[in-house]
């Protein structure tokens, strides 16, 4: 029962990594501007497509913009879309998934059908088309579209979990006492779903960051905004690959991957929290077992 998720190395690492990027998104641009004296949008015509140097730690782009400053500025854009998209998506997932699982019946079936529909639709092409119509719209709109079309997987999980929790005796027992559905949902069922909702939010976060990057890569973005996606897109457009300007497109992609890894690692811990079998399959348990084994000096047959 008692299980400290921060005692789990994977989770701790994930949390640290994610916190770093959140802090970077919030305070980074101020830091680059005031402390490092760099400007993501300034063009340094003395350094066009320059490799990393003391002046530009991560080099410059084709336009003489500092890559480090852009990565930090991009963190804000990407994380903004990530958080907003994940918030919207998670909210819809909760609003659809929890009632679907709790009430079952006709209501539940309809909500479940809706979920499955959004689940089989290839969301990314759909978002592309929608965003295509809305070209030039800001990051808010993009986050909104991503959230509105990206909730189905989460709703499906929540529905299954809400259903299993709702069928457990303690919910029935409290209903027997005369508790209302509203109270049952909020005080008895929902607390069991917080872990899943958190995990869903993290999944949505990385999904939104990736989707934004994908959209930007396709050229669907706010032309004035800087995000990791727009950086990669700019690099691609200026044929950075064919000209060997790796410092331009490697850092933003790596950042996306690191945020994704952080989210996935935290989710791993949440999974282990929810599924004791996964917990006992961890490296730590294996090591402990081996230690007891060695101490006992009885060879293990199996």
């Amino acid at each position: 029962m008692k299980y400290n998720i921060f005692g789990n190395g994977k989770v701790a690492f994930g949390v640290i990594l994610l916190s770093f990027f959140v802090l970077l998104a919030v305070f980074g641009p101020w830091f680059t501007g005031s402390v490092l004296g760099l400007d993501a949008r300034a063009n340094d015509i003395t350094a066009i497509a320059a490799p990393p140097s003391a002046e530009h730690p991560l080099g410059t782009t084709q336009f003489g913009q500092d890559v480090l400053a852009q990565v930090i500025e991009g963190a804000r854009g990407s994380m903004f879309v990530g958080f907003l998209g994940a918030t919207i998506g998670t909210a819809i997932a909760v609003l659809i998934g929890v009632p679907a699982g709790y009430f079952g019946g006709t209501t539940g079936n309809f909500l479940n059908f809706l979920t499955n529909l959004f689940l089989v639709m290839p969301v990314l092409p759909l978002i592309f088309v929608l965003a295509g119509y809305l070209q030039g719209t800001g990051l808010v709109m993009i986050a909104f579209i991503i959230g509105v079309f990206g909730w189905a997987g989460g709703a499906r999980t929540l529905r299954a979990q809400a259903m299993s929790v709702s069928n457990r005796d303690f919910v029935q027992a409290m209903r027997m006492l005369g508790e209302s559905d509203r109270r049952l949902i909020f005080t008895e069922v929902m607390p069991h779903l917080y872990g899943w909702i958190a995990s869903m939010f993290l999944g949505g976060l990385i999904g939104a960051v990736m989707a934004e990057a994908g959209l930007a890569f396709l050229g669907v973005s706010d032309s004035s905004a800087i995000s990791w996606g727009t950086m990669i897109q700019a690099a691609q457009q200026q044929s950075a690959v064919l000209r060997g300007l790796w410092w331009w497109f490697v850092p933003p992609g790596l950042c996306i991957a690191l945020v994704g890894t952080a989210a996935a690692l935290i989710n791993f811990g949440v999974d282990e929290l929810a599924n004791p079998k996964l917990r006992s399959a961890s490296r730590r348990v294996a090591k402990r077992t081996a230690a007891v084994q060695r101490a006992a000096l009885v060879p293990e047959g199996v």
Binding site: K10, Y102, F103, G104, G105, N109, N112, N116, L117, L119, V120, M121, P122, V123, L124, P125, L126, F128, V129, L130, G132, Y133, A152, G153, R156, M163, S166, N167, R175, M210, A213, G214, F217, L218, G219, I232, Q236, V241, G244, W246, F249, G253, I256, A257, L258, V259, G260, T261, A264, L265, F268, D271, N275, K277, L278, A281, S282, R283, A286, V302
Partner: protein, 359 residues
């Protein structure tokens, strides 16, 4: 109510019908697939309707804008049938919504997806039909390859959960599955195409060889396709693997695996026939969720490699606001994904005698 459901399932479990083994099962599977087919038809209809609604929801008059654009591109007024076709897809100011919808459905039934703005006057259907085989080739093979590779590695990691292999491979895969597809594609293109020069930098085949089925052309297809395919597999297998790893860990704890070990079966048999065989089932039910992401990622990958599939087509269309092409691609991708899901369901039904439906 939920309470009823649990009581019923308990009651139903107690009274497990003692049916005779053979024939009803086949009929059951048939009916299950039939119901799924029904669902996919509704899904397809929803996609078609969505495709109808989106342009009509947009501010302004997309229909007029497109016609205007087409006339500018072609430098002449549109032939009447093209005009009808565009108005059918994007809105006809003279008809009410219902009339528009009926006309739109009738038009789709004739595979009339309008004409491309950029490649005027090539019909969208032709453009899409030209790109589809390339995408199917690339995405189809890589999806299967990633699925097989991910599942196999997932079994290996899950079976040896807690070992060093698992402790290294699993976090590494977590990282890989978090990397954007197109960025991996860019890196691969830069490293293997640009720096090492092992692979061509763009295209789906050698433009100097005429398109045919002769060995030289096929060889060039393989050569051009290898790098895009590899990057998609590289980015996609991690998701399958992590799912399979956790399912395997869970399954290994099941009594039937314990009993299989107690029976003295070979470890390989226990692992595959008992553990993996059961752990694999959720992989198919989760297919829909994973496939959408893979397809989206693969479309982006095509763009990096200028691969002549529909992803690249979509990209060009987005760049130039070629709405007919965009919507045609969306419809086609959706249909393909639905068919893939139906196939996954069939495989699932074949794999699980219980045909446990989630509904």
């Amino acid at each position: 109510m939920t309470s009823t459901a649990s009581a019923v399932s308990a009651a139903a479990a107690d009274t497990a019908p003692a049916e005779s083994p053979r024939t009803p099962r086949k009929r059951k599977r048939g009916r299950f697939l039939f119901r799924r087919l029904g669902f996919y038809l509704v899904a397809a209809w929803s996609a078609i309707t969505l495709n109808f609604i989106i342009p009509r929801l947009m501010p302004g008059d997309p229909s007029a804008a497109i016609i205007d654009q087409l006339e500018r591109v072609s430098g002449q007024s549109l032939p009447p049938d093209t005009l009808v076709s565009i108005q059918g897809l994007f809105g006809n100011p003279d008809d009410n919504l219902f009339e528009q919808y009926v006309a739109y459905l009738a038009q789709l039934a004739r595979f009339d997806l309008g004409v491309s703005i950029v490649n005027f006057p090539v019909p969208v259907a032709d453009l899409v039909a030209a790109g589809l085989p390339w995408t199917l080739l690339l995405v189809g093979t890589t999806t299967i390859a990633a699925f097989v590779l991910g599942t196999a590695l997932g079994v290996a990691a899950g079976w040896r959960a807690g070992t060093r292999f698992d402790a290294i491979v699993t976090p590494l895969t977590t990282f890989l599955s978090s990397v954007p597809y197109f960025w991996v594609a860019l890196l691969a293109l830069w490293a293997f195409g640009f720096v090492l020069g092992w692979f061509p930098l763009a295209g789906g085949y050698d433009p100097n060889i005429p398109i045919s089925f002769d060995p030289a052309f096929i060889a060039s297809v393989l050569q051009y396709g290898a790098l895009p395919a590899a990057t998609i597999v590289f980015s996609a297998f991690g998701g399958w693997m992590l799912g399979m790893r956790n399912m395997t860990v869970t399954t290994v704890g099941e009594d039937y695996v314990l009993l299989a070990q107690a029976k003295g079966l070979s470890p390989a048999r226990v692992r595959w026939r008992y553990a993996a065989r059961n752990a694999m089932l959720p992989q198919f039910t989760g297919f829909a969720m994973a496939l959408g992401g893979v397809v989206g990622g693969a479309l982006l990958t095509e763009i990096v490699f200028s691969y002549p599939g529909i992803g690249y087509l979509l990209f060009s269309a987005l760049q130039k606001r070629d709405y007919p092409v965009m919507q045609g691609v969306f419809l086609l991708v959706t249909f393909t994904v639905l068919v893939a899901n139906l196939i996954a369901d069939s495989v699932y039904v074949w794999l699980d005698p219980r045909v446990r439906e989630e509904s």
